[in-house]
């Protein structure tokens, strides 16, 4: 079922600048060349009956309902497949057309159940609407003939055409008896999602929709994006939530709280209850598409595990005491003041969240800088994209991706390095696949054979299957080929980049040691492949680089990012559509949390705290004097906690005990602190070490903005009241007030107004403008009042681009006899990061435990078969997972996801980190893998500790009940 509020124009929008004039039903209409007659009519307010057509999909012309008459042409062409032509005179309603349409609908209805009153689509069924529109009054054929509707034939035998409902998918049901075989679902799977999981099986009257080879949906290749459900004109494919609740009565447009794509959704509501989430056709990041998480996995927001009352305790071995908000605020303020009085002003700090809004993030860093009086504020980007901030700022002058997603439509060569878009950024992954199917070339640099390497109608031109930890070597080698084979865009470099830095870099990468042949043994990539890939990127037209945590989460993460920027500068791939350097951000608001001054050394807008003019502007606005020296980063906070100088931490929406590397080190640090305040939806891993729990609000419960990977600022809109009473920004504000620092915002928009006043790249941003434009890509200011889709157009933000020397330094994390394999980590489509949200949804039906992917050769050597329990031991710790034998892996490399805390993926990861930013080296850990029969010692301790903490939590709830 399509959105209940969007108007469907029947076929996609045409983009031509040539305007065509024609006449439809006597009205003069002007539309772009290439527009269908159906769409031209719809834009003029004339509805032509249709069933197989929807704006989501290319015209198909199968239902024969949208026929029209065109003056001077024979017959009755389908308006969906007929493009407009100048001077056309079209009639959409004639007696002949009415007769044909009625005949068509009559046939459809003769093989369709007549249970409209109890049907989930009732009220928004397109078949029902069309029956009404054409004036169908009788079905001359009766209902007793061959049909797909009834399980039994009239004679009482099995009806061979009948297929029972498929309820296997947790989120939608498939009722073939209601199918009209319009193919919209199949086409949505092909054209929108690009998975090709659905098909029309059989022909003629026997044709039917099937998932993969006649599988149940859950067992098929279906990725449950829901595009088919949205496209279905009847109730054949319906959300189970719609079946349960009935039609929504209003919608609210908001932004998804999962990955960095930042899809726009219309929440279809009944009062304060969500009936379903429908991706917004006008969403600038997603254009009406979604993935299984954004559309379906929202049940966590109303999950019974949510904690909705503040709680405090003196020691983590105590039960919790449920308290009022006022008592909680007063307690935190008094504790933090006590800690500062006892151990010094620097003994406390805060962590902002990439899951919270810009406004909330801004307030936490403001509370730390102005309220606590230090710069001990950091964010989870520390462990994901901090090297992006450093690397892109150093080379280009701005800590952000250079393009919008739609830029890929102009890309000729897509280079994906250390990213897995079809799993981690699925909606953009679909857009990328569409572009590749339309002919763009593809280079994948990844140790694993990710789906993108070989997927229906996409085949990577080059897959550089490098050894983990050799990104910089590969990037330098690509640069070597470009420089030594004369493929540098000399004109671009001369005009746009610093000449001295470039000259130095050219000599640096031209060294023999970086030739593909010399590097072959180190990187594991054949020289010929390397040369081919470099030539393709440099000479194949518009080249765009997309990268992710496979670049940043290394000891040389920042060097890798700079290596990427160097490559793009050397080939002139900046400053226009189709090119650029595009970090795919992990969480919904990683870009935003970084923009908002979450780093200990930077105010909002990436301006160093040591910059006197900037600092004075904040001092003036905030009415306090501020420190001009950097504060502690998250790993520094842990070190300081362990040496006894750091005692209190306010954590908004982060789960450092699960997400940060070397878990045992983290929990030791947490255990050494005296007041840990966790503000979250759930009693997460960190909360087990906390002294104060402040119940946070989900993205559905507040107003604000998220900034996605394209620098796109989109509105988050409140659709229901906060479960615990306050939006997260209100909690921070109350905390500040309790600490004696005044904050008095009445609405999130006032916080954005302050951000805009104080941050040059945000000067032009306001809620009012975002509401008006739909979304805004920063910089948005006097120079760019409508925002900036492409950065660095005429010059780089820093003026001239700066080539940086990027020496390859092998990581100290090396394989040896004791730890002969390299472990690398990543995500899977159905789960999200630490899993706090997705584990509390039916998404666990696709993936309910982290597995260790291992190459058959390595498995065989160890006597490991698929599904065996295996121990994974590094120098940091050990854990036990079940093995999954996988040809995707290269021998010597194993892989796991990190979605379940009990898996202990981070018990194994080490303290190694990026030289510039301390971003952890999650992607390279030397390990040994052995068959085992029981959980690891850590897992046993973890289980016992978690049980104990759960018991303390349950006790607290009991106390409240008795009170």
């Amino acid at each position: 079922m399509l959105s209940i509020v969007e108007i469907d124009y029947g076929t996609p929008k045409a983009t031509s600048e040539t305007i065509v004039e024609l006449e439809i039903d006597g009205r003069t209409v002007h539309v772009p060349e290439g527009t269908s007659v159906m769409r031209a009519a719809a834009q003029a307010g004339i509805s032509i009956p249709k069933l197989c057509a929807t704006e989501m999909l290319e015209a198909f012309g199968s239902c024969r309902l949208c026929l029209v008459e065109i003056e001077g042409r024979k017959g009755y062409p389908a308006s969906c497949t007929t493009p407009v032509a100048a001077g056309m005179k079209i009639s959409t309603q004639t007696p002949k057309l009415a007769e044909i349409r009625r005949g068509v609908i009559e046939l459809y209805i003769s093989d369709h159940p007549l249970d409209c009153l109890t049907c989930p689509a009732n009220g928004h069924c397109e078949l029902q609407d069309m029956a009404g529109v054409v004036g169908l009054r009788e079905v001359r054929y009766g209902y007793d003939g061959a049909n797909h509707v009834y399980p039994k034939t009239k004679g009482g035998g099995e009806n061979p055409l009948f297929v029972a409902k498929d309820e296997s998918n947790p989120y939608f049901s498939f009722d073939p008896s209601k199918c009209i075989v319009c193919s919209r679902c199949v086409r949505a799977c092909d054209e929108v999602q690009g998975t090709f999981a659905l098909t029309i099986q059989g022909s003629g009257f026997e044709s039917k929709v099937a998932a993969s080879q006649n599988n149940a949906f859950l067992d098929s290749e279906c990725v449950s994006c829901g595009a088919c459900v949205q496209a279905c004109p009847t109730a054949t494919l319906s959300e189970k939530s719609l079946i349960d609740k009935g039609q929504a009565e209003h919608t609210v447009t908001t932004t998804c709280a999962y990955c960095g794509v930042g899809c726009s959704f219309r929440a279809e509501m009944k009062g304060e209850e969500i009936v379903r989430m429908v991706p917004n056709k006008d969403g600038h990041a997603n254009h009406g598409h979604s993935c299984v998480k954004g559309r379906f996995a929202i049940g966590y927001a109303t999950h019974p595990d949510r904690i909705n009352t503040p709680m405090i305790r003196a020691k983590i071995s105590d039960p919790w005491r449920v308290v009022s908000w006022d008592e909680a605020f007063a307690h935190v303020a008094s504790e933090f003041k006590r800690l500062q009085a006892t151990y010094g002003k620097h003994a406390v700090g805060g962590i902002t969240s990439s899951r919270c809004t810009n406004e909330e993030t801004y307030l936490v860093q403001k509370l730390v800088r102005a309220g606590f009086g230090n710069n001990n504020v950091d964010t989870c980007a520390r462990v994901c994209h901090s090297p992006t901030g450093y690397g892109l700022k150093t080379t280009l002058g701005e800590s952000a991706g250079t393009q919008d997603f739609d830029s890929i439509e102009q890309t000729d060569v897509v280079l994906v390095i250390g990213a897995n878009p079809t799993d981690a950024h699925p909606v953009f992954g679909s857009q990328m696949k569409q572009r590749l199917r339309a002919g763009a070339k593809l280079i994948v640099i990844d140790p694993r054979r990710i789906d993108l390497v070989r997927t229906p109608h996409v085949h990577a031109d080059y897959h550089l299957k490098l050894k983990p930890g050799t990104n910089v070597a590969v990037l330098n080698t690509l640069a070597h080929v470009i420089v030594t084979e004369g493929l540098v865009d000399e004109a671009f470099v001369a005009l746009r980049c610093e000449p001295e830095a470039f000259a130095k870099w050219r000599v640096f990468v031209a060294q023999d040691k970086y030739s593909p042949e010399a590097m072959e043994a180190e990187t594991g990539v054949a020289a010929a492949l390397m040369r081919g890939a470099a030539r393709l990127y440099a000479t194949g037209g518009n080249g765009a680089i997309y990268y992710g945590l496979g670049v940043t989460e290394h000891a040389q993460g920042s060097t890798g990012v700079m290596g990427i920027a160097n490559l793009a500068m050397a080939t002139g791939n900046f400053g226009r559509e189709g090119v650029g350097v595009n970090p795919l951000r992990g969480q919904n608001n990683v870009q935003g949390s970084c923009d908002m001054g979450s780093f200990p050394n930077e105010f909002p807008g990436y301006r160093h705290v040591g910059d006197d003019a900037v600092r004075h502007s904040f001092e003036q606005a905030w009415g306090v004097s501020l420190l001009g020296e950097p504060g502690l980063r998250i790993p520094n906070m842990f070190e300081a906690a362990l040496d006894g100088s750091f005692k209190g931490l306010y954590i908004e929406g982060e789960d450092i005990a699960q997400s940060d590397p070397d878990t045992q080190h983290v929990t030791a640090a947490l255990s050494a602190m005296e007041c840990i305040v966790v503000q979250d939806l759930f009693f997460n891993e960190t909360a087990k070490y906390a002294h104060v729990f402040l119940p946070g609000s989900s993205f559905l419960e507040k107003d604000g903005t998220f900034t996605n990977a394209e620098r796109r600022i989109s509105r988050v809109r409140k659709v229901m009241a906060p479960k615990a009473g306050y939006a997260d920004w209100e909690i921070t504000q109350k905390l500040a007030q309790a600490m004696g620092y005044p904050m008095n915002y009445g609405h999130a928009s006032q916080i954005m107004d302050e951000i805009a006043r104080l941050t040059p790249t945000f000067h032009g941003v306001s809620f009012e403008k975002i509401d008006r434009l739909g979304s805004i890509q920063w910089p948005c200011n006097e120079e760019h009042p409508q925002g900036t889709p492409v950065l660095h157009v005429d010059e780089f933000v820093r003026g001239k681009g700066r080539f940086m020397l990027t020496e390859y330094v092998p990581t100290s994390e090396k394989v040896n006899a004791e730890h002969p394999l390299i472990l690398t980590t990543g995500r899977i489509l159905s789960q999200y990061n630490g899993g706090t949200q997705t584990r509390r949804t039916a998404n666990v039906m696709w993936y309910d435990e982290d597995r260790l992917e291992i190459h058959p050769h390595d498995a065989e050597e160890r006597g490991v078969t698929d599904g065996d329990w295996v121990g994974i031991r590094s120098r940091s710790g050990d854990t036990v997972l079940r093995a999954m034998i996988s040809e995707r892996m290269q021998p010597g490399v194993v892989y796991t996801t990190f979605h379940f805390p009990g898996s202990g993926a981070n018990v194994i990861t080490t303290e190694n980190s990026d030289w510039a930013t301390n971003c952890p080296e999650y992607k390279v850990t030397a390990v040994q893998v052995t068959r085992v029969t029981q959980p690891s010692e850590w897992q046993k301790r973890y289980r016992a500790f978690s049980d104990e903490q759960q018991a303390l939590l349950d006790q607290s709830v009991d106390t409240l009940g008795q009170a």
Binding site: H346, S558, P630, L632, N636, E639, E911, S913, A916
Partner: protein, 76 residues
């Protein structure tokens, strides 16, 4: 803080800048990085360690730490 960790981190920074052919620029690079990104407490601790001999610090890190500015305790 754990001085070994600080030494490793300082050496990691020095290792990055070691490729810079202009030695003075390399030293400045390390020093500037420490100044812009490290909390004064960490800088002070590293500098004290350097004053006591700085065992384990790479030569480039040593040179950078030598001229490292650290604000007086009272102002931070």
């Amino acid at each position: 803080m754990n001085i070994e960790r600080l030494v490793t981190m300082a050496n990691d920074i020095a290792t990055y800048f070691a490729v810079e052919p202009n030695h003075a620029a390399a030293v400045d690079g390390v020093r500037d990085h420490l100044t812009r990104f490290w909390d004064p407490v960490m800088r002070r601790q590293l500098k004290d360690y350097f004053a006591q001999g700085g065992e384990g610090l790479l030569p480039l890190a040593n040179e950078a730490v030598d001229g490292l500015s650290v604000p007086p305790v009272a102002t931070v």
